[in-house]
Symmetry: C2
Subunit: 335 residues, 2 copies
């Protein structure tokens, strides 16, 4: 029996091994993704992003606990840590707090570190989410550290993106997050028992007003035209303004309300048609990444290494510009 | 006369227009890059990165002033702001402080916002640096907000990378920067008159020890093998341990010492052979990006849009996996 079949049958050990193959982009992993693909498309992918210190991991744990124990859903967590592009090795400290979930076979937790480019990381994360989806997990939570481009990639991957803030982060730090706010479907102020929570909420609200003027509501997931078309078709479509939810994850406070806000977002996605728009956009990103990768790998096969090296040498000597070198390499290939 | 010729003759207006063409990736811009390429390779590219609130822009201004007024060098500044991938529009507030340099034709300042992917931004920045290089600017300072992947890209672009810190940023914020420290050639603690400067230096020093164990010194710019070879060739090669420099940019304190540290780094780069290693690595990144772009653009020309769309539709319906779709699209192309 292949790992794919075993995974479909609920074998945890096979799941764990397959995830490793997929994370390392092994041939077996690629084959399994093709086998499993028909079984995907059912899970609710939830992205959770926020700066270190916002208590994001505790929050993820509480969400997982609730989905598991109260709604009896199977929950997978992919914790992505792109903080160090060089050293690798995910920060696992936070996961120590997951003891509440240990031993529960309806929960699966996986940590990933950045290997190479963030583009590659997003692809790996998407692939792992697909494996969990096929394996029958109802909810896949993808947790990332707030560090720029990675949140945007998560937003393209997730159906629902939570952006986690906490009181007491300086205004200067907040300023950089304007872009991140625009990808938020739900804003969470965790550590809401800390002083300054009112200021944080006020700041978020004014940034939300900037980030979500009515005419831009639909624009942040790409396929503007499609959404606009659907908007015309259905006069009953509501707009989604990201709600701000307060939580104290360490005490489990505000979790039920957050779960309800996420559920409302799913209803919105379904009724507005945005669910399938996001699905399609996500799959298009994935398809394009695979195409790019295949093109480059074929190019590398076609162009002898020494020809490439001699071009690079000429560029270094300023005998040839990179643009000219590409033209020569491409034309040589067609012969 | 073309813009390229005018730029080589020192025409500022032509320079400004050409930079716009290059930033927008217009055909004229691409042609000019090819024309100008033989004149590049002389400028010292200095990357300056740091979180908002570290006073990075003031520091860049001070460096530019010093290079200009004391060393009589021509200085260009490219200020990159990748904070908002959606709204666009570089934060120009900081540049108000550049009044000291206004009207000086030996100084040129350009702000850029993120348009689309960070990969594209790095390419644009590299191209603009090339234009400045060809235009005879001795020093090109590339300033980025510390936000993850972008620093890594700057490190690949610059000969010397300064990472700017300031006292009083929390430990949790520091933790995420471990990866960023590894790209630093010079560490700067700006606002060194603020309380907590000793703690910041202590924290940086212990992180440096982690990030730069002796055997890894040479590894952070990719071409390990080449450097290793050169290392064997020359027994006189020193190692470079990033110095920590304290500055108070608003008062011009520590600037001379910082300039000296940068000069020592240039000496190190030259003597160790690392200068040409970095040059080559940078040009290779650029060549690869151009190759990738050309491959994708040829693919788009070859594959009819409706074939691509129908593949995407089948993927969305789970009739085909992305991997299978790529195989079909590629094979169809070869016929």
């Amino acid at each position: 029996m292949t790992y794919s079949q075993a995974v479909l049958n609920g074998d945890r050990l096979a799941l764990s091994r397959l995830l490793t193959q997929v994370e390392n982009d092994e041939i077996e992993g690629r084959a399994a993704l093709i086998d499993l693909f028909p079984y995907t498309g059912k899970a609710h992918l939830i992205g959770v992003t926020g700066a270190p210190g916002t208590g994001k991991s505790s929050l993820v744990n509480q969400l997982a606990l609730y989905y598991r124990k109260t709604e009896n859903k199977r929950v997978a967590i992919v914790a992505v840590d792109p903080s160090s592009p060089f050293t690798g090795g995910a920060v696992l400290g936070d996961r120590v707090r997951m003891r509440d979930l240990a031993g529960d076979t309806g929960v699966f937790i996986r940590s990933m570190a950045t290997r190479g480019s963030l583009g590659g990381l997003a692809q790996s994360t998407a692939n792992m989410a697909q494996v969990f989806d096929a394996a029958g997990f109802d909810v896949v939570i993808i947790e990332t550290v707030g560090a720029g481009q990675s949140e945007v990639d998560v937003a393209h991957l997730a159906h629902t993106t939570l952006v986690v803030e906490a009181p007491g982060l300086g205004d200067e730090i907040q300023a950089i997050k304007a872009g991140i706010l625009e990808i938020a479907d739900v804003l969470v102020i965790n550590k809401a028992d800390h002083p300054g929570v009112e200021n944080t909420e006020k700041a978020l609200r004014s940034m939300l007003d900037l980030a979500h003027p009515p005419e831009r509501i639909f624009r942040h997931h790409g396929s503007t035209m499609q959404v606009a078309a659907q908007k015309q078709d259905s006069s009953s479509v509501q707009l989604w303004i990201p709600p701000i939810q307060r939580t104290v994850a360490t005490e489990g406070r505000g979790i039920v309300e957050l779960i309800q806000a996420i559920a409302r977002h799913v209803v919105y996605l379904t009724q507005s048609g945005d669910w399938s728009v996001r699905e399609r956009a996500r799959l298009e990103v994935e398809l394009d990444a695979l195409i790019r990768e295949e093109l480059v790998s074929r190019f590398r096969q076609d162009v002898p290494k020494d020809q490439y090296e001699s071009m690079l040498e000429k560029i270094t000597q300023r005998e040839l510009s990179p643009g000219e070198a590409v033209r020569i390499l491409m034309n040589g290939r067609l012969k």
